[in-house]
Symmetry: C2
Subunit: 423 residues, 2 copies
């Protein structure tokens, strides 16, 4: 009986402690993410109005380089620094990470670099969490949980998907393994941060997959077997796309550091290449975030959910634009561009396979991300949070298949791995 | 490039191999589960028609005892034997486990013992998987994956929830940790077994939680904070119920083995106690499976989703009936009775808290099970598969809260544990 009360009191204390710690974390992170999403929106509007801003992209890159050189300390390592600190607490995460990544992501987007949001949100969350950890003098094991809460809060708030945020924070640390001890703290932090962000009036883009009446090949089957096989093949394609993106970004970073001896020239040249690509393709659809576009018919994530909303190779162009932007020193996340690649590839495959476009775009949206970050479970859950639960079995098949086909590397070099993805 | 092809070929080979292995497993397990569910239904109908069968419950218990004593070998260890074999392959799982557990579960249900289905389905799946492993001469690491596939197939087919089945198989092995290497094989096996079972014409009970219009306390909040807090408190209650059930079942088994020197007397006395309880309460609502009942107003899982469908202490009565039935030697699973306890307790709490009855019943349904088996993630997913994705955040909060409040024990003694549920 005594033991019963002891464990229950410990559990209650655990919940109270982490709820109390999650409140300031969520207030700060949620507000920062709201500020970030609002300014990202403003910056993107300005870019749509002043298309000449694209020509300044190389200068923006140089500015980012010097901002990090002068002020960055170790914060340039970004998401990887947060993962490292959770695995082996050491140098700490500087407060300046938050404003720096916020400012440089906005610079990237103002001038039309192709980048995302989650890296920025996660780094702001991590930076706030590390600072709060110092303020409250948390012990080391609690600092790890706090940093995971920071990831969860940033991720949950930036996409409006709190459960995905929490599971992402647990899943991203080690490839193929998940532990639950920090689930409740992460869930509370992610949930509150999302509420705070929404309370600032931020709305997230709504995606939807409509209900389709599938024809089972036989009356006694309650699934469409052909669709299922096509989803499995598509899952492999999504995983190979993740792999291509991760390898290409890595190689671009490696080679440009080798071949271009003056470091600030790297982002300048990267900016020039992006401009060149825009001219060659005759469109700026692959610059910026890509959730929506300046005009009705531009290729973007929202349109990729409809037939004709993306071209056959749109996914590849977005992949190249993003690999160059992020591989050559600009800032921002990878996830929204991964959504773009996935949705656009899903669009292409849907036409090829004769399957519903919105379903395939939605599967690509979550599965390319699953493969690149090695977080198939969080992405399956994201499917439910964004598109509803009806297609759960397809989400799971696409995400886990993408995960095993995406190779070991992924976009986070500080992710650990205990064993292979398959035995 | 060579390496690229090597890993992709290995992944393809992995998928083909496990799809091929999953086909016979799913055909056999899905068919056995279909047979089981059909005969369970028949047996329950017979019991409704011939209420005097309850008086033979003690004799049924004695029959079960001697069946296992004469024919059982090591198969009486049930689910725990399968978990043990996955952790440390050794004695093997005998083929006879499948027919034995099928027959004894039917005996339990024919005479009105309070038990479930998942244990039976999982043991049939595990037994088939072990046998196929020997037929195909699988190496040891593949036998482990095959057994996990057997669990997934049995679980997925018996409840019609394939994704839950796959995640359950990964999650049940070690408390608080999950690895993904067997996810694709488990997903394929679970999915196919569900298809096979459905192809035999088996229908699963449909549950639903209707859409509720919640009033956020302030216009800028997109959640109902009060409801959320009530769900968190309810989650703790669900977890404590799981704990009570696990401890009580364990103690009943321990004490009856200590106090009753003649082993076959244990189930006989257990049967008499159940009969006594029925008389004392004046109802047989707490015997059998409890999904539906002999008359419209009986207390059962389906009715617990409506106001007035369960009494204040229904959850406790079902808990006692089941702890006695399973603790004193009858066979069957624990999960359906756990659903019952959870849904009934949810019903009671909904009236106490003034929250929607169907939502709280649904949360109890999954959360008491999550706490007792230490599989909060599978149960969260089960919420999506059974009730839809709308209330995902409540599923996750209820299940993970139940999980941390349910103590370390759980109903599977062979579950391993690497660290505490909270740090």
């Amino acid at each position: 009986m005594q033991q019963f009360f002891n464990t229950q009191t410990a559990t209650l204390r655990f919940i109270f402690k982490w709820t109390l710690l999650a409140i300031p974390l969520a207030l700060l992170t949620g507000s920062l993410v709201a500020l970030f999403l609002w300014s990202l929106d403003e910056v993107t509007k300005v870019r749509y109005q002043h298309t000449w801003l694209l020509y300044l992209l190389p200068l923006g890159g140089i500015l980012i380089y010097f901002l990090y050189k002068k002020l960055g300390k170790n914060s340039e390592k970004g998401n990887n620094l947060i993962l490292d600190e959770i695995h082996t607490p050491g140098g700490g995460i500087p407060k300046r990470m938050a404003p720096l990544v916020l400012a440089t992501t906005l610079i990237t987007h103002l001038f039309g670099g192709s980048a995302g949001r989650e890296g920025t949100a996660v780094q702001m969350g991590g930076s706030v969490a590390a600072w709060l950890g110092r303020v409250f003098r948390l012990e080391q094991k609690d600092v790890s949980i706090m940093l995971m809460c920071g990831i969860a809060a940033g991720f949950g708030a930036v996409f409006g998907t709190p459960i995905t945020g929490a599971i992402f924070a647990l899943e991203v640390l080690i490839i193929g393994t998940l532990t639950f001890h920090a689930m409740i703290p992460c869930l509370v932090a992610s949930f509150l941060a999302d509420v705070v962000c929404a309370a600032w009036g931020i709305h997230h883009t709504k995606y939807s997959i409509s209900s389709h009446d599938f024809q089972p090949i036989a009356s006694y089957l309650h699934v469409d077997v052909w669709l299922l096989l096509k989803v499995i093949v598509a899952g492999a394609c999504f995983g190979l796309t993740s792999r291509l993106f991760a390898v290409l970004t890595y190689q671009i970073k490696l080679q440009s550091n080798k071949l271009i001896p003056i470091p600030w020239l790297i982002p300048a040249i990267g900016g020039c290449i992006v401009i060149g690509f825009c001219f060659a393709l005759g469109t700026t659809d692959y610059t910026g975030l890509g959730v929506s576009g300046p005009h009705e018919n531009s290729v973007n994530i929202v349109n990729a959910f409809h037939a004709g909303g993306a071209d056959t190779w749109s996914w590849l162009w977005k992949l190249l634009f993003t690999a160059i932007t992020l591989g050559m020193g600009f800032k921002g996340g990878e996830v929204t561009p991964l959504f773009f690649m996935g949705a656009a590839l899903g669009n292409t495959l849907a036409i090829l396979f004769g399957t519903p476009v919105d379903l395939m775009a939605g599967l690509g949206f979550i599965a390319v991300f699953a493969g690149a970050t090695n977080t198939p479970l969080a992405c399956t859950i994201m499917g439910v949070e964004l598109f509803g639960g009806e297609y759960l079995v397809y989400y799971a098949l696409a995400c886990f298949n993408a995960y095993i086909f995406s190779g070991k590397m992924g976009i986070y070099s500080s992710q650990r791995s205990t064993s292979g993805k398959i035995l």
